[in-house]
């Protein structure tokens, strides 16, 4: 029996036109959806479950009741059960930082003891991009970040992964289980939930847990960082029209691109 834990997040997407209110964006300009990277992590986990004999996939999230829809969608796609952590203390926290998330997920890991943990590389909204690796460190798991291909050898307890590095370089790494992998978009093609999946998901369990249930107190979610400001950067746009025939235009374009650092030699 193998257990895969997928941590997911419901992220806020800001509408095109919005108004900043101090360091907040009002709810009326926000739409909530499953974090894009997490969708790929879910698909990875579900594919493992479909390929393996006895694989349980559990999904965990931190968030208010609204997030049940998101986690229910994961259940509709084939995740077996869900855990949602929320209580009044969490509701009163202004900024849930990486440390806080690490504490919470680490407590869940202690309870669930998964063999493999999949997270998205980053969350679309706060973009800390650190939770997965931080969780691995706290739980004493191995880890690999920005994974865009996975070949799991469960019997040998090794995940053969391909990681996407900057500049078009990729590397192959073997990671011993238990491990945390942060999943990059494009690793697979996330499925749509089927109607039967959606119906079954209504009957699957989403366990609600409080900090107390996890053996944590307020201190666990106190943030060391403070959000001091939020603003829209001034944006500039510039247009340059190339004159002349195709050869001349292409030459001008090439020189502009070179100037901007594209295609460096």
């Amino acid at each position: 029996m193998m257990k895969v834990l997928v941590t997911v997040k419901e992220v806020a997407e800001v509408e095109e036109d919005f108004v900043l209110d101090g360091t907040r964006i009002d709810d009326r300009f926000l739409e909530y959806d499953l974090n894009e990277w997490d969708d790929y992590a879910i698909e990875t986990a579900v594919q493992l479950a479909e390929a393996g004999d006895d694989v349980e996939v559990v999904s965990a999230t931190i968030g208010p009741e609204r997030c049940e829809e998101t986690i229910r969608m994961a259940l509709a796609k084939g995740v077996d059960r869900g855990i949602r952590v929320w209580d009044d203390t969490l509701a009163s926290v202004d900024l849930l930082d990486v440390n806080a998330k690490t504490e919470i997920f680490n407590a869940i890991i202690a309870e669930e003891e998964p063999d493999l943990i999949l997270t998205g590389v980053q969350a679309h909204d706060d973009s800390f991009g650190a939770t997965g690796v931080s969780v691995a460190d706290a739980a004493g798991y191995e880890w690999a970040a920005v994974v865009n291909a996975l070949d799991l050898d469960a019997d040998a307890g090794v995940a053969h992964v391909r990681r996407e590095l900057e500049g078009g370089v990729e590397e192959l790494t073997d990671v011993e289980l238990p491990a945390v992998l942060t999943i990059q978009t494009g690793i697979n093609e996330p499925r749509y939930a089927s109607l039967r999946g959606i119906r079954m998901a209504q009957r699957k369990e989403i366990a609600q847990q409080t900090l107390d249930d996890l053996g944590l107190d307020e201190g666990a979610v106190e943030s060391q960082i403070t959000l001091t400001d939020m603003y829209e950067p001034e944006s500039e746009s510039d247009v340059e029209l190339f004159e002349g025939d195709a050869d001349a235009a292409a030459a001008s374009l090439a020189s502009v691109l070179r100037e901007k650092g594209v295609g460096a030699q």
């Binding site: 829809e69 939930a193 109607l195 959606i198 119906r199 209504q202």
Partner: protein
């Protein structure tokens, strides 16, 4: 109307599929008059092709509200695909309701997975709004029926494999219309020419001719003479779906026009700030909301076991006429661009018109409504 969590999720998932997949290929499918089979596979993966197949035969057995939600969203993406789906659903509904256990076992589990595709053969060249005038016959000969005749405007005509066919067992008796199951592979079934249409051009529409087609007597789905009432019963259920499709097309046209009106600037401001344009949106939005309200009410009545014939007819009549109006205004708001096939509203305008015609014209719907409120 309050939707269940399951219904909301289904609506959202199908909407996403419509936007990401169905809409993507719509222009090309329309242009080349090619039914997008890969999108049909996508519908099957979502279990949509088993929408009206009972659970025990591997289907989803949707309630009518869910059926309406799905139809609206699929049509939001591409009406030609929604039409193909709803006709497939008519065929599986007929089999579910009137087939023997053996027939259901033979056809439904596979049809639920998308193929074979179903067809519904009622209309004829000389029999549209009054199907009792049909001339297709099914004459009993021993353990068989022998079918002869021609059916018109058959959706899925080329790609379909399972036909629900209505024919008279006595050519002299208008009351002898009977329902049959005819596999298209049966000798004597011929697919006629592909129809050239104003809109819905990606939909596979052909004639189907029956030339001494011999089928076993057990393929008769209803008692002799009970075919028309069966057809009307199934069509009343399906009508809510067609009305929902009209809402989907209208909403699609509205959304495109809304985006365009915000982007398009004339007289130094977006045209969405000009009152004549704003009032168009007010009217369009009201028509869409009213249509959707009628559709949901007709669906709710069906699910509650109430007689919804009048409401379903109201929904079909109102929503389809609204779709034509809304698509028309969406083109108008786009100005010259709306007349160009690069813009989706041009297709919506052509597609919307069929919703006032097929599966009961607006005139027939009014007859049903008038009968309900007067007689």
């Amino acid at each position: 109307m309050e939707l269940t969590a399951e219904q909301r999720t289904i609506r959202d998932v199908v909407r996403e599929f419509a936007v990401e997949e169905l809409r993507e290929g719509a222009q090309e499918a329309d242009k080349t008059e090619t039914f997008p089979e890969d999108l049909w596979d996508g519908l099957a993966e979502l279990d949509l092709t088993g929408l009206t197949v009972p659970l025990e035969y591997g289907g989803y057995e949707a309630d009518r509200v869910t059926y309406a939600l799905v139809n609206e969203e699929v049509a939001y993406g591409q009406l030609a695909v929604a039409t193909a789906l709803s006709v497939h659903c008519l065929a599986t509904s007929c089999l579910s309701e009137f087939g023997t256990d053996e027939q259901k076992e033979q056809w439904l589990p596979e049809m639920a997975t998308g193929r074979p595709v179903g067809m519904f053969c009622l209309s004829e060249p000389e029999a549209g709004s009054n199907p009792a005038e049909m001339s297709t016959t099914a004459i009993r000969e021993g353990d068989e029926y022998v079918l002869n005749g021609r059916k018109q405007w058959i959706t899925n005509g080329q790609r379909g494999e399972v036909a629900i066919v209505f024919a008279k067992t006595d050519p002299e008796d208008d009351g002898s219309v009977t329902q049959f199951l005819v596999p298209k592979s049966t000798a004597g079934v011929e697919v006629g020419k592909k129809e050239e249409k104003l809109g819905l051009r990606a939909s596979d529409t052909t004639q189907l001719t029956f030339d001494d087609v011999r089928i076993p007597a057990e393929n008769r789905l209803t008692a002799e003479g009970r075919g028309l009432s069966a057809a009307f019963h199934i069509l009343t259920g399906g009508r809510v779906g067609i009305a929902a499709q009209a809402v989907g097309v209208a909403q699609a046209a509205f959304d495109q026009a809304r985006t365009y009106a915000h982007e398009r600037e004339q007289f130094d401001a977006p045209i969405s700030e000009i009152q004549t344009i704003r009032h168009k949106f007010a009217e369009m939005a009201t028509q869409i909301e009213a249509s959707r309200g009628l559709v949901h009410e007709a669906a709710r009545q069906d699910d509650a076991g109430e007689d919804n014939r009048v409401t379903a007819a109201m929904a079909k009549y109102f929503a389809s006429e609204a779709a034509v109006d809304v698509a028309n205004e969406a083109v108008q708001i786009h100005g010259g661009y709306g007349y160009m096939s690069e813009f989706d509203v041009e297709r919506f305008y052509r597609d919307a018109k069929i919703t006032t015609i097929y599966e009961g014209t607006s005139e027939i719907q009014k007859e049903i409504i008038a009968r309900g409120v007067l007689d």
